[in-house]
């Protein structure tokens, strides 16, 4: 049941890695110290020394892969051309350079069997907006309900946090089975109140709805926890003052709660938007029949890259997704002045 020698190996493996990392960083810092403090006497020596280890790690794990993917996106690397791309496919075993063809294909060709980019994009936007809306409203609602002296508060908290805690692989399998037309709990429960049964897994619109319901179930705890935190940092004095002034609950919510939650909500909504936009597990699992109307950009990317091994195309596709999110972020940040609140 438990192999002690294996456990020992695990400990030593991780332990050695940590030791090596510490040593490497120490050496790095030593070099930086010599260069920037002794030799260059730079004013910014300390921040440079502090940031460099992280910077190197980030360069290796984010910048290098991004550049690698950028490189591949100009080639036709796929299952029949399964070779190292070299530089833009030009220096590979045989020339697999295709220029911007992959990017053109992303927008013009069907990305999946029948669905094109713009349809997928629209589906992804609808998916993201609906989910984030429910995550935020339900999260705020639940947080408001929990943010008070209440009997059984800990029990409620424990239960409400379960969707986040339980491994998605298990819960999504269960959700998928519960959507079964005849035998799933969803239709059976709805039947008790005289609704349904609905074809959650086989019809496009119902499947999309099913995905949203499951993702809302999955994502509300996270938002609830964040809002709870924000609420707890709002001093009671504000509410008391408002009550004295005769404000009702709705008014105090609008004038006190919402504005004071803003610095917390804005980054949370942004984070929630990315996570939902790039959420691959839920659509993958719930879309059992692989309805293309239920695919979002990332699931199509996954299929292209791994199921069909269209590496060049997938790389171009991934960059397009990344560019879209980047543009969105820039606009969102400007509009909400989010960077100021969080960063300055």
């Amino acid at each position: 049941m438990f192999d002690w020698s294996q456990a020992g190996t695990a400990l030593s493996d991780v332990g050695v890695t940590l030791v090596v990392l510490v040593a490497a960083v120490a050496i790095l810092e030593g070099i930086l110290y010599v260069v920037f403090v002794r030799w260059r006497k730079a004013r910014l020596a300390l921040p440079i020394m502090l940031i460099t280890p992280a910077a190197i790690g980030l360069l290796a794990l984010y910048v290098y892969p991004l550049l690698w993917e950028l490189n591949v996106s100009f080639t036709k690397m796929n299952i029949r051309n399964f070779i190292f791309p070299g530089f833009l496919g030009l220096t590979a075993e045989r020339n697999i350079f295709v220029g911007l063809q992959n990017y053109i294909n992303v927008f013009t060709g069907p990305v999946l069997k029948q669905t094109g980019f713009f349809q997928l994009f629209a589906q992804t936007v609808i998916w993201t907006v609906t989910n984030v809306f429910f995550h935020v409203t339900l999260g705020i609602g639940l947080a408001l309900m929990l943010n008070r002296r209440l009997r059984g508060r800990t029990a409620y908290r424990a239960m409400l946090i379960l969707p986040w805690a339980i491994p998605a692989t298990a819960s999504l399998q269960i959700w998928r089975t519960e959507y079964n037309f005849e035998f799933g709990a969803v239709n059976q429960l709805l039947g008790l109140v005289g609704l349904g049964p609905y074809p959650w897994l086989s019809e496009p619109i119902w499947n999309f709805l099913a995905m949203i319901i499951t993702n809302v179930w999955l994502g509300v705890p996270f938002m609830m926890v964040i809002v709870l935190g924000g609420l707890q940092s709002i001093s009671h004095e504000y509410y008391e003052a408002a009550e004295i002034d005769g404000a009702g609950p709705v008014q105090s919510f609008r004038t006190i709660t919402l504005p004071l939650l803003r610095p917390v909500l804005i980054p949370a909504i942004l984070l929630g938007t990315f996570l939902t936009f790039n959420q691959i597990l839920v659509p993958f699992f719930i879309n059992q029949n692989e309805l293309e109307t239920s695919d979002i950009l990332v699931t199509a990317l996954f299929r292209a890259a791994f199921q069909y091994s269209r590496y060049g195309f997938a790389a171009a596709f991934a960059f397009v997704i990344f560019a879209i999110l980047l543009v969105f972020t820039v606009f969102y940040v400007r509009w909400t002045k989010a960077l100021k609140g969080a960063y300055e």
Binding site: T17, A54, L162, I166, I226, L271, A342
Partner: protein
């Protein structure tokens, strides 16, 4: 029986009953009706949150290998703890959990150290490229993770970091950095710089000021970051599968539990039992530390 004549007193008592039900009895408490409604709402939400988990639990208890249960019983017919027993004693779950624990603790520690120091630099120093770097950190969270898997794997093979925990520890630590810097910098920004400046005047070096003054003050935020990184690494599947997925002895619980799913047959009862078991530590951790979680997250965002 004649109808009771509404007298002044019964009207008053009716009104006072209504008042008792709808008006707050004291400051900071809610009226009974409101309280009841809130309980109802929370109960409803909790049931929805918990229901799939109960079904998972039911599947774990069900004898045989049946995912479906046309009946609605929470405790299925012929419930047995066999699946739990098998998962704990015969599968490698204990081993996998230990592996995950070791990796996760290691990466959370490394990630914390790297982020805490870098966040300090971002918070206390002004330099060219600071805004750009912060935006870059933001941007890393936009990248669809699956896109990075193949090049990271190729890099790891070249550096001989596969089929051991080395590559995984590095990968987890580094990918936790952007979010951690974000939170920590936000928190540092809320701590007035006066204390450190006073320390500098008294002869401390910058690092000493950081170590002796800022760090102790930011313990809550450090705890949060540690917790978040722990949770992120704990339940991660794809990177682990790519970097250590080729060696049975190294499995983390995410990879191990996925083994219960075969090509055609899935061990539903064992998969469910394992899922329940691996959720327990996380739930306990959450409940225990959620007050910190909550305030720590805010502190990162709220500007004084």
């Amino acid at each position: 029986m004649s109808a009771p004549v509404p007298t002044a007193t019964s009207a008053a008592s009716k009104r006072s009953l209504l008042r008792r039900l709808t008006v707050a009895p004291a400051r900071g408490q809610d009226a009974p009706v409101k309280r009841a409604l809130i309980h109802l709402g929370l109960l409803f939400a909790s049931l929805i949150a918990v229901f799939p988990v109960i079904r998972v639990f039911g599947t774990a208890l069900r004898p045989g290998n049946n995912l479906l249960d046309p009946n609605f019983s929470i405790i299925p017919q012929g419930a047995t703890l066999d699946a739990f027993g098998q998962v704990v004693f015969e599968s490698g779950l204990a081993q996998w959990l230990f592996n995950s624990l070791v990796i996760t603790l290691g990466t959370a520690a490394v990630g914390l150290v790297m982020s805490a120091t870098s966040a300090y630099a971002f918070s206390r120093f002004k330099f060219r490229g600071r805004g750009l770097s912060l935006t870059f950190l933001f941007a890393t969270q936009l990248i669809p993770g699956i896109m990075l898997l193949v090049p990271i794997y190729l890099l790891a093979v070249q550096l001989d970091l596969v089929s051991t925990y080395r590559g995984l520890v590095i990968a987890y630590s580094v990918t936790s950095i952007p979010f951690s810097i974000w939170i920590l910098k936000g928190y540092y920004d809320t701590v007035p710089i006066d204390l450190e400046e006073a320390a500098l005047i008294d002869g401390c070096s910058q690092l000493q000021a950081f170590w002796k003054i800022l760090l102790p003050l930011s313990l809550p935020a450090l705890a949060i970051v540690f917790l978040f990184n722990f949770l992120a690494a704990w339940g991660e599947y794809f990177t682990a599968s790519v970097l250590i997925g080729s060696k049975e002895e190294l499995l983390t619980w995410t990879l191990g539990v996925a083994r219960f799913q075969g090509q055609f047959q899935t061990q539903w009862n064992e998969l469910s039992a394992a899922s329940i078991i691996v959720s327990l530590p996380v739930v306990i951790l959450f409940v225990y530390t959620s007050r910190y979680l909550v305030s720590g997250l805010t502190l990162g965002g709220v500007k004084g």
